[in-house]
């Protein structure tokens, strides 16, 4: 998805001379094309993420649209206050690009796991969040948001699994329904849509019809879409490669509570700090309950509780 994102960015930069790319010395094999085509609009600022955000703020005030690129943890947490007091406070079009979502970085360990980035960005009223589900949606999102005048956080996964059901659709503030069903709703954050769809396949084997929706943006958030979907099912499960608090599960819980919906909500997410446990992404997803089988099991448990 990173490569698709940068390909779209190159295309955008060809059309829009305001686009500048800054990297905190990361992006090997991904950013070279941009750097070669637009050497005057590419800056490797070194391993200095706070300064990268400050520089981007100064550039944006002068009319540029800077994309700042790093691993999601380093792009969001080290310069968090510079994001808040910079692009957010000044309402400037800085694009924070965080690559590697959730447990994508596998054996690199917890310092590289972006598990609170959505929470951190979602609490900021002016920060649009875009978490594409697959490469096609990433490309669509870059195009659809090119004229947004405030800041955007792009949460870009390392995976490149396509989600054909999505067809590359992206509309800020909307959830995309990938599959309909009236027994339970599975709501996934970005690339976790693949897990949700596969879980729905497993549930269908047990005769349970699951609706699957993917949320790929917040601020604006798909409040109306989620409220509408959850109003017609007895149970819902959120699936996200993120800590359990502050991300998609919390957003859906807020919608349920604020709309007074009668739906049992289960949140599949990472519930403990994933440290002292090296492993591949697949191993870690399994350990933290984020596989189709484990999501389907949670759905069955939830429905059993609902029937009791």
């Amino acid at each position: 998805m990173r490569s698709a994102f940068i390909r779209s960015l190159v295309e955008l930069a060809e059309r829009d001379p305001r686009v500048v790319l800054l990297t905190g010395d990361l992006g090997f094999t991904v950013i070279e094309d941009f750097a070669e085509r637009f050497p005057d609009r590419f800056f490797n600022v070194g391993v200095a993420e706070q300064n990268m955000l400050g520089v981007a703020t100064g550039l944006a005030e002068a009319g540029f649209v800077p994309f700042v690129y790093s691993i999601a943890t380093f792009a969001t947490m080290r310069p968090y206050e510079f994001i808040r007091n910079g692009p957010l406070l000044h309402d400037l079009p800085v694009r924070v690009v965080g690559v590697g979502t959730g447990l994508d970085y596998g054996n690199n360990g917890v310092t590289h796991f972006a598990l609170e980035d959505v929470a951190l960005m979602r609490v900021q009223p002016r920060m649009m969040i875009v978490a594409p589900a697959d490469p096609d949606q990433a490309q669509a999102a870059v195009d659809a948001t090119s004229e947004v005048r405030g800041p955007i956080y792009f949460r870009v996964g390392k995976g490149a699994i396509s989600i054909p059901e999505l067809g590359g659709r992206f509309t800020p503030g909307r959830a995309e329904l990938l599959r309909d069903g009236g027994d339970i709703a599975i709501v996934a954050l970005g690339a976790a849509a693949r897990i949700a769809l596969d879980a729905a396949d497993l549930l269908a084997l047990s005769g349970i019809e699951a609706a699957v929706a993917v949320v790929s943006s917040f601020n604006p958030s798909p409040t109306a879409d989620i409220a509408g979907l959850l109003d017609r099912v007895p149970a819902a499960i959120t699936v996200e490669a993120h800590y359990v608090n502050g991300g998609l599960g919390s957003f859906v819980a807020e919608v349920v509570a604020e709309h007074g919906l009668d739906v049992r909500l289960t949140r599949s997410a990472v519930r403990e700090m994933p440290c002292a446990r090296s492993g591949t992404q697949q191993y870690l997803l399994e350990h933290y309950g984020l596989t189709p089988r484990l999501v389907a099991d949670s759905a069955l448990t939830s429905l059993a509780l609902d029937g009791s």
Partner: protein
């Protein structure tokens, strides 16, 4: 602007600092007074400001945002911040708080968290170069702000990219919130640090308008960013505040205010 004119400007800034901080009953008076002369020289002719909305105006970033009242005073003295707006300082609903926000006319960037402004200044200077503009960027930092690691990220960036339109002015008043800088986290030799990082370093008495103006006016020819290390006196202009740590936070009593204004008027006369 002549030295007499910038001195008048400095006095107006100091008067604003004293009267508004007294009316609002707020502190940071000493930090404001220490940059009154620096701002007077900047706004008295160094900065090229045809209008606050001109994209090619010089940029000024008050990275030591807690001295915003001094900046409001300067902007008021040159007619950008109206008297009516200035009088709202620290009242409910006013855009004029003790730290500056860019919604105020003439304020380019909101600040208040130390260590942030110089990196914004790097972006502003880089943008000017990319746009082939000859506008310049000035960043006023406090000495204690040099405690912040992020400031040195910006220092490295500016030198690497030879941002010669960027000038940092360090308000070297030797004090920070809880003590003297030499006791809290010694900065010396500060001049050598900036020079070692590749900057064009100038020293000036931060209250000598001729020295400041000459340091700030002869910077365009070097192939490096510039720093003017301005030796200042915390609380300058009000004798009982000078070099007194307590004036970092305390507001004035009525009696202290009368004494301070009387001193200002004596100096003026």
């Amino acid at each position: 602007m002549s030295e007499a004119a910038t001195q008048m400007l400095a006095t107006k800034i100091r008067r604003t600092i004293l009267t508004q901080s007294k009316r609002a009953n707020v502190g940071h008076i000493g930090s404001c007074l220490s940059i009154a002369d620096i701002l007077a020289v900047l706004y008295g002719g160094v900065l090229r400001l045809s209008s606050p909305d001109d994209g090619d105006r010089d940029r000024l970033i008050l990275s030591k945002g807690h001295a915003a009242l001094a900046l409001y005073g300067a902007l008021n003295a040159i007619g950008i911040v109206e008297d009516d707006l200035l009088e709202t300082f620290c009242t409910d609903g006013s855009p004029l708080g003790t730290h500056p926000e860019n919604v105020v006319p003439g304020i380019d960037f909101s600040t208040g968290s130390l260590g942030h402004g110089l990196s914004i200044g790097c972006g502003a200077a880089l943008a000017a170069r990319m746009q082939n503009s000859n506008r310049r960027t000035y960043v006023v930092v406090s000495d204690a702000e040099c405690n912040e690691g992020a400031l040195w990220e910006a220092v490295m960036f500016a030198a690497h990219h030879r941002l010669s339109s960027l000038t940092a002015i360090v308000d070297l008043n030797g004090q920070q919130a809880l003590g003297y800088t030499r006791d809290v986290l010694d900065l010396s030799p500060l001049e050598n640090k900036w020079r070692a990082f590749g900057w064009d370093v100038h020293n000036a008495d931060g209250h000598d308008h001729v020295a400041l103006e000459s340091a700030l006016s002869e910077l365009d020819h070097e192939d490096a960013p510039h720093v003017v290390i301005a030796a200042t006196t915390f609380g300058k202009g009000v004798s009982f505040m000078e070099n007194q740590l307590s004036w970092h936070y305390w507001p004035m009593t009525d009696e202290q205010f009368s004494t301070a204004i009387a001193e200002l008027e004596t100096r003026e006369a």
